[in-house]
Every structure is written in C-alpha cells, then in structure tokens.
Amino acid sequence: MNGERPRISIRGLSKRFNSNVVLEDVDLDIMPGNSTTVIGMSGTGKSVLIKCILGLLKPDAGEILVDGENWLTLPKNEQLQRMQRIGMLFQGAALFDSLKVWENVSFALLMQNMGKKEAQERAIEVLEWVGLHGVADLMPAELSGGMAKRVGLARTICHKPDIVFFDEPTTGLDPIMSDVINRLIVRLHKGSGTTMLSITHDLKSAAMISDHIALLCHGRIHRKIAASELHSDQDPMLRQFVEGRAQGPINVSHWGQKIEEAIDR
C-alpha cells in the first residue's frame, strides 16, 4: 500500500440487535480512489455496515476512521458537515416524494444555499450525465424503477463527493438497466477517482464496478480479494457463494438448514 493512509478504515466494528449479533469485529480498509464491494448473503449485515459508517446506526464497539479521523466520536453537527463529502445511493433510490426530480438531484446544493437557477442547471447537467433528458420537472412518482435509480445516482454525485456508497445498486432492475447503472458507476469511478464502497449480492455487478471484493460472512470480513480473482479464488466459502450452492461451509442459519433438510427429503 506504499504507506498510504486508507481513506476509510474500519477497526473492530461490532453491532448487535438485542441478542442477534450482526457484525462482530469487522476490519476493512479502503484506499483512496479504490472501489471496494462487500458481498454476502442477505441478512449478513452489509447494509448495517454502511449505515454504521454513515452514522445512521451506532455501533456497539469499534472505530471508523475517515482520512484518519474517527467519525464516531464527532458531535452530530460535525458529522453532518463531513457528510458534504459523502454520496449515498440507496437501494430504493429514496427520492423525496414531495420534491421535483431536479430539486431531489440538487438537494444538497440547495441546502448549501446555492441559488435556485444555478442548482437547477447543475441538476439538469448531472441528469444528462446519467442519460436522463426532460425529466427535471417530473415528480418521483412519475418515474420507472430504472429512471428513479438513475435520478438517485445523479443526486448521489451532484455535489461532487469524495466518497460514494452504493447499497445494492442493481437490485430490482432488469439486466439491461443493471448494465446501464454498472457502466455509470464505472464511468464515475474512472472519471473522478472517487473512493467507493458498494454492497451487493449481484456478482456480475461486483466484478464490474470494483477493484476489490470482500466477503462478509457470519458477521466478519472473511476474505478480501482483487475483483479479477473472483472466479479463480479457491476459498471454500467464497466458492460456495460464487457458485450459489446451499451446501457448503456457509451456515445458512437455523431455519435455512431446515429448509435444506426438507428439500433433501
């Protein structure tokens, strides 16, 4: 790593909900300009990991360093200020229903007191970058799923963040629209050198948009590899996940085992 400091460094992160341990002693480093994707089964805590980093959930233990600064110890108003450097694409796009598309896209800029005309022009420019023309004055309810996701992506990058998070960027989209979103993410990464952390269980998407892939399993980062090694790495857990097998070292939870037994019978 040439002694370079990670942009995001997660150390010993743990999070439980009542007696359910979701994350246990998670360690993960993401270098500046790197795109890392965390893969893992549904319910393994991928979204919880991102929400802990963003301050939306409070971890039980551990630290999250962004450029060497522990975000968990910052007061709320300073955390909010740091958010100006962050972009986040939510799984369901999370567009604000009561605002027009262009207001959604330039929301962060409007909140930073940018003039309405200037913000609208910037929103239209970014919407065109994601391939959407003539939708600026529509309401989110008038958009299709793919369009909403692209508007979400436009909102994520409109204020030019240094670090971007993607929560299941292609879930619920058809293969062609998934490819469009993946290509836009790659274009963003290559064009601006933005540091990215994505979570997904779409392996095609993970291979396409990442430099590194980490497997989250049983609450821990089990393995981190270069994206190019995804199909050649021989780790048994990674193989089971990549090949999509129910049988293997990944324990598919108590009720999951029962389903498996029922299928075998």
């Binding site: 929400k51 963003l54 301050g55 939306l56 709320k76 108003n77 909010l80 200020q81 740091r82 958010m83 100006q84 962050i86 972009g87 986040m88 939510f90 799984q91 369901g92 999370a94 567009l95 604000f96 229903d97 929301f107 962060a108 909140m111 930073q112 909102r155 204020h159 998070f165």
Partner: protein, 257 residues
C-alpha cells in the same frame, strides 16, 4: 397473576419509552430553534397545510357546536326563565373550553395523522436516512417546521372557531328561538373578560405542541413497513386526543384553580 404483572410491566415500560421519546424529541427540536437554518420555506408550507387546510373542518365543527350549545342551553334555562343567559353560556363554553378542545381534536385527527403518516413513510423508504447523507439534519428539516407551524396555527384556528361558534349560537337563539338580538349580544360580551379569551389561546398553543411532538415522534421512529406506518398513525391520533383531554383538565385547574 404473573401474566397480569408481565403485561402491566410491559405497558409501563412502553409508556416510559414513549414519554422519554417525546421529551427528547421536544428538547432536541427546541434546542435547534436557536440556530440557523430555519427552513422558512418548509415552515410556510406546513403553516398552510396545518392552518389553511384545516379551516373547513374547524369552521364546520365550531358552527354546529355553537348551534347545539345554544339549543341545549335554551332548553335548560327555559325551565327557570333564564333564557337570556344562553348567549353567555355559549360564548364562555366555546372560548374557555370547547373551542380549544374541539379544534385540538380535529387538528389531531387531521394534522397529527398526516405528520405521522408522512414521516413514517419517509422513514420506511429511507428518505430520512437520505436527508442525513445529504448533510441535512432530519429533525431540523422535518420536525422543527411542523412543530412551529402547528403551535402557531392552533391559536389562530381557535380564534376563528370561537367567532364562528358564537355566531352559530347567535343564529339559532335569534332566528330560531326568537331571542332578542341586542340582549343576546349584550349578555355575551358583558360578562366575558379578556382572561377567558387568552386562556383558550394558551390551551390551543399547548395542544399544538402536543399534536406536533406526538405526530412527528411517532412517524419519525416508525418501524416495520406499511403496517408500521399504519400503527404509528393510529397511535399518533389516539395518544394526541387522549393527551389533549387529560392536559385540558390540568391546564384548567392551573389557570382557574
């Protein structure tokens, strides 16, 4: 016996958690009022939604309450030839008690439910999380304008409701029950003091705070998808209405006791 104790314990725990949530939300919101940004556009939008859009239901409620009150009072006072007091009873009841309470209940049903449903939907669709990631404080952006709007609009709605209700009583007394209009107006105004009017406005503002905090807190902390939004909305309306009725007694005892 153990089941009863467990149920009582759970109920008490839930009550304490909710009281704590309301108190911390209120304190957090008031603390934010001292500094910018105040999101004036949101405040005006909410004031329009809470105030202007509640007018029809508030006016209709006040009108018919005043009319019924006049009818009932007249029937009772007629038994001991004191019909001339009808105007006084109608106006005093409306200004001191029925105006703020009925407007409070109507606004709790309309606005409290809308706050809880809107914020609840934003919570379950991750829009509130999105606000945070766009470096916007969700409490300042969503709760503060709603709380200020409902606290300011409630007294204004009550003033309108008082006048409409008193007019409803006048219309029935004069045009249906053949009372003398001059005597009616004189009896309505002569015994009424400014304190009677103000006390209703203080109650209205207090009820506004209750409606705002309960509706917003229930929605903001909503969990569990569409069913969670439904539960939050129902809770917001029921708890707001109960709180209005209970606090009305204590406010009355404090102000006139």
């Amino acid at each position: 016996m153990i089941k009863l104790l467990t149920a009582t314990g759970k109920l008490t725990e839930s009550l304490c958690i909710h009281m704590g949530l309301y108190a911390t939300t209120f304190a957090g919101t008031v603390k934010r009022m001292g500094s910018r940004p105040w999101h004036m556009r949101m405040l005006l939008q909410q004031a329009e939604e809470v105030g202007v859009q509640s007018l029809p239901v508030v006016m209709l409620t006040a009108l018919f309450t005043g009319m019924v009150l006049a009818l009932q009072s007249y029937i009772v006072f007629h038994r001991f030839a004191a019909e001339s007091l009808t105007g006084l009873v109608v106006s005093m009841s409306l200004v001191r008690e029925l105006g703020p309470v009925l407007v409070g209940l109507m606004v709790a049903g309309r606005v409290g439910a809308s706050f809880a449903a809107e914020l609840g939907t934003m919570r379950v669709t991750e829009q509130i999380d999105a606000l945070w990631t766009l470096s916007t404080d969700p409490v300042r952006y969503l709760i503060m304008p709603r709380l200020i709007a409902v606290t300011l609009m409630m007294p204004l709605l009550v003033v309108i409701a008082d006048f409409i209700g008193i007019y409803g009583g006048y219309a029935i007394s004069v045009h249906v029950l053949d009372q003398n209009p001059v005597v009616y107006i004189e009896n309505t105004t002569i015994y009424m003091e400014l304190e009677d009017f103000y006390s209703g406005l203080v109650k209205a503002a207090f009820f506004g705070v209750l409606i705002g905090i309960i509706g917003c807190t229930e929605g903001f902390n909503c969990k569990g998808g569409a069913a969670g939004v439904g539960t939050a909305t129902t809770r917001a309306v029921v708890i707001s209405c109960m709180s209005i009725l209970v606090s009305d007694y204590f406010l009355t005892a404090w102000m006139f006791g």
